[in-house]
């Protein structure tokens, strides 16, 4: 292998972080790397880290954009706490990311950008290459810009410098392909697809990819190669999917299983926008999207569509959910199916729009005027956003109610290698429609088991009726201000939602099913980190288990039974303790310890393990 035989180290998993200016195409480079990893059978999870400014001034700390890829032969459930390999295309990228790399990590920098001009932009006082801050790391000072340019120029194809500079990603990619002991032709495939209509660009990018590979092979500074075997437990057909795309597809799946047309009324908002974008591109599946004038119109158009017999849905993030709450109340009292997807971000107000948080839980459960109960569920991995979006549709339609599905910025933008589900095995949804001219139809007559009302849709003969936001009489649906009737209807609405518990799975315990010392309690998007930390501690011999909740309101029926089996309960969440507070109200007989983090970041496995050990070792 070349003229530079080097040592190959086998790794269980590795975390690679790409960082550069937000215009440098770090997301694309990261995607190319993760695609190649997936095609080699590695398990993986990725997470982008982008600023809320679209293109902050070049070279500054504010403009740094990142993309983290965690690949492994073991099961990968988080994007990784700290990076094993950092690619920093400029000093600002290095400065921003030094706190996110492991001691002893490999740091690849574009030495061409490490000059006084760039140091000044990045507000470095000392030259980081000589001030000792990089001692203890393997630093590869690669002339990425100049070698990319000279490679392109040597082809003599009249390519301008701006285009030449865009090939730098391929130099990085070639370097990584060598570093990870991979066949460079896999990288060529990506380029061929990406530039399928531009043969000139295929040629130059191929050349730069090989230049990067050859550079790594030749240069003395790189002493070791890494190798990661295919994942052991992954078999079958997979695809990479982000939480937002999985959510969009889950909504389409729910509508198809219910025999309904999907209608999404929505207003663009970070980090939920991709759901609207994805569904706008799915008209070929009969999906209609309506980009509304505001968040309120987003949910209102969806309610209108549901009134008309479509499956109405709306997607948003925290501030948008706040604006939608009045209309959510209308969907509660008119008992129409509606799915509200809330991709949580840091709040309050505009808060941290591009960062993740779990702080909308209370808003989802309680954030409406009046007694206004509705089911709340949460997804816990990018891929299972598909399953829970389908579940939201199922509950909304079968129980005739609005449902809030909580995801978060971390799930929404994270990508996992997702096993494609067998669609035939997903149960169909029973839509409680009424037959034309049914003489017994009354707007608020209920199913005796689920307590849902039935859905008569405009266009159906002989079922004309009027519903609305005013309280309606039981069964007949006339406007009613009768005091006793309001009690009956309020009870019905509450009991209907409570009975959803009979139609959801029981809460699982990961670890000791029979109970034990410490139960970690989490919900939604923290699953990967909590599960990884619990698993590692169990392997170290600790008595620790996990209950990760996807069904929040109502809680699974066996929740009390689960809690009773453990001596201690620790509720971990990315907020100030909302789920813990909720559990105290639902199951006050137990005490709950809390571990909370509110930094716009996911949990790190390391910090969880430290906390868990501390509790386990308390006497």
């Amino acid at each position: 292998m070349g003229n530079n035989p080097k040592k190959v180290i086998e790794l269980e998993d590795v975390v690679v972080k790409f960082a550069g200016d937000s215009g440098d195409g770090m997301q694309l480079t990261g995607t190319q790397f993760s695609d190649a990893s997936a095609s080699l059978g590695n398990d993986l999870l990725t997470f982008p880290d982008y600023p809320s400014e679209i293109r902050a001034p070049q070279g500054t700390v504010a403009g740094v954009s990142g993309f983290q890829v965690h690949i492994g032969q073991k099961e990968i459930q988080t994007p990784g706490d700290l990076a094993d390999v950092l690619i920093a295309l400029n000093p600002a990228a290095l400065k921003t990311n030094m706190k996110w790399v492991k001691q002893g990590a490999t740091i690849i920098i574009d030495i061409d950008n490490f000059d006084n001009k760039h140091y000044k932009k990045a507000e470095y006082v000392e030259d980081p290459l000589s001030d000792g801050s990089l001692s203890g790391f393997t630093v590869i000072k690669a002339p990425i810009t100049s070698l990319s340019r000279s490679t392109v120029n040597s082809l003599d194809m009249g390519i301008d410098q701006k285009t030449a500079d865009k090939t730098r990603n391929q130099f990085v990619m070639g370097l990584l392909f060598w570093l990870f002991n991979r066949d460079v032709t896999i990288g060529e495939d990506f380029i061929n697809k990406k530039f399928s209509k531009k043969p000139d660009l295929i040629k130059v990018n191929h050349a730069v990819l090989h230049a990067g590979y050859n550079y790594a092979e030749t240069v003395e500074a790189i002493a070791t190669q890494f190798h990661i075997n295919p994942a052991k437990n992954k078999k079958g057909r997979f695809r990479q999917i982000t939480g937002n795309v999985a959510t969009a597809w889950g909504l389409i799946a729910g509508a198809e299983k219910a025999g309904l047309n999907l209608f999404l009324g929505s207003y663009p908002i970070t980090p939920a926008t991709e759901i609207l974008q994805e569904l706008s591109n799915r008209k070929h599946l009969g999906v209609k999207t309506f980009q509304a004038e505001d968040e309120i119109a987003g949910i209102c158009t969806a309610i209108g569509a549901s009134f008309g017999g479509s499956l109405g849905a709306t997607s948003t993030s925290g501030p948008g959910l706040a604006l939608k709450t009045e209309a959510a109340g209308l969907a509660v009292i008119t008992e129409l199916p509606l799915v509200i997807v809330n991709v949580q971000r840091g709040g309050p107000s505009t808060g941290l729009p591009t960062k993740t948080e779990q702080s909308d839980l209370m808003q989802a459960i309680h954030g409406r005027h009046g007694e206004s109960p509705l089911p709340v569920i949460a997804a816990s991995s990018p891929g299972n956003c598909f399953n829970y979006a389908y579940e939201a549709c199922r509950i909304a339609v079968e129980h005739m109610t609005p449902v809030i599905l909580l995801t978060d910025g971390y799930l929404a933008n994270g990508t996992e290698l997702w096993k494609i589900p067998d669609f035939d095995k997903i149960p169909s949804i029973n839509t409680p429609l009424v037959k034309d001219n049914d003489p017994d139809y009354q707007p608020y007559r209920r199913d005796p088991e689920k307590l849902n009302r039935f859905w008569a849709v405009p266009g159906q003969e002989g079922l004309q009726h009027r519903i609305g936001g005013l309280e309606k009489s039981d069964i007949y649906g006339q406007v009613s201000h009768d005091p006793y009737n309001h009690q009956v209807m309020s009870n019905n609405r509450a009991e209907k939602i409570k009975r959803v518990e009979n139609y959801i799975p029981e809460q699982e315990i990961i670890g000791n099913k029979d109970g034990g010392e410490l139960l970690i309690i989490g919900w939604g998007g923290t699953y990967g980190a909590l599960n990884s930390a619990v698993k590692e501690l169990r392997n170290e011999g600790y008595d620790i288990s996990l209950a990760q909740f996807n069904y929040i309101f109502p809680l699974p029926k066996n929740t009390e039974e689960v809690f009773a089996k453990f001596k201690k309960r620790l509720v971990c969440e990315l907020n100030m303790g909302q789920f813990a507070e909720y559990l105290r109200s639902q199951l006050p007989q137990y005490s709950y310890d809390q571990f909370n983090k509110i930094q716009g970041l996911p949990f790190f496995i390391s910090e969880l393990k430290t906390k868990f050990k501390q509790i386990l070792e308390e006497k």
Binding site: F238, K283, A305, G469
Partner: protein, 339 residues
Amino acid sequence: MTQANTKLTRADFQIDGPVKWCAGCGGYPILAAVQKALPETGVTKENVVFVSGIGCSSRFPYYMETYGFHTLHGRAAAIASGLKAARPDLHVWIATGDGDSMAIGGNHFIHMIRRNIDLNVMIFNNRIYGLTKGQYSPTTPLGSVTKTSPDGTIEKAFEPGELVMGAQGTFFARVIDKEPKGMEEVFIDAALHKGTSVIEVLQNCVIFNDATHENIVGKEVRDDRIILLKHGEKMVFGKDLNKGLVFDGEEIKVVTIGENGVSMDDILVHNQTTKNPNMHYMLARMTYPEHPVAIGVIRAVEQATYDSMLTEQVEHAMENTNIKNVKDLLNSGKTFEIK
């Protein structure tokens, strides 16, 4: 849409229960006119939906033997937009008021019009908040004394027609609640128009703003203070039909035919279908005493509707894809077989 075998009548659209507006409310004649107009449009009961917001006007759906949805304050336009986009086969009407559509629902109102969704919108303009018992609304004339403006309002009034033109509306008409025949005719025109049809009804609130339009529509004065516009006809008015409207290159002016050398040839002819909205805009904003107030269909222009274009895009996409269902979707694009 299924056509009725036998022609429906007003009675088919009447409900069994009581109508609960105040005695003498302008809502009653509006309701009667709608119930008479609908049979003339060839619809069946089950294909008609009335959507409303909040306010006295918005109780309207409860009084129609069709499908009905009484929604949220200001949101009828948004809810009806979603309904029509999802179900273009339905005939969707909105009953709203000056507070509901011009204040809290102003944003939805202009965007509905901009999109030209095929909806029929009746604005019951009584220039007051009636359901909350007498506060000024966005159409209350400047200086009016109300419960929340004891010293007179200090904000200019909206003219609904100006908002419609400003939002590139395709249909605008103005009618009077005590003119049943005129309302019925205009409601039929509005129903048949493809696009957002906005009808401003000058409505009386007998309790909180009685006689608000009386200085225009009162029996004694109306001939000289309103002008009935008819497509293709001269814009003349007055008891003896001897007054008319001319355009002097800058604005519309009132003239007397036979005086100062003005003849019938100089009088403007109403063309409701002109694409250019300038003349319609000027007609819509005419107010007494400078001008007579325009009554009838002011603008009716054919333009593609949002709902028809959405349907076209969906149908086109469905015909031109290999991804026909979720199973195809899940397996589309780049997938990895791991053995």
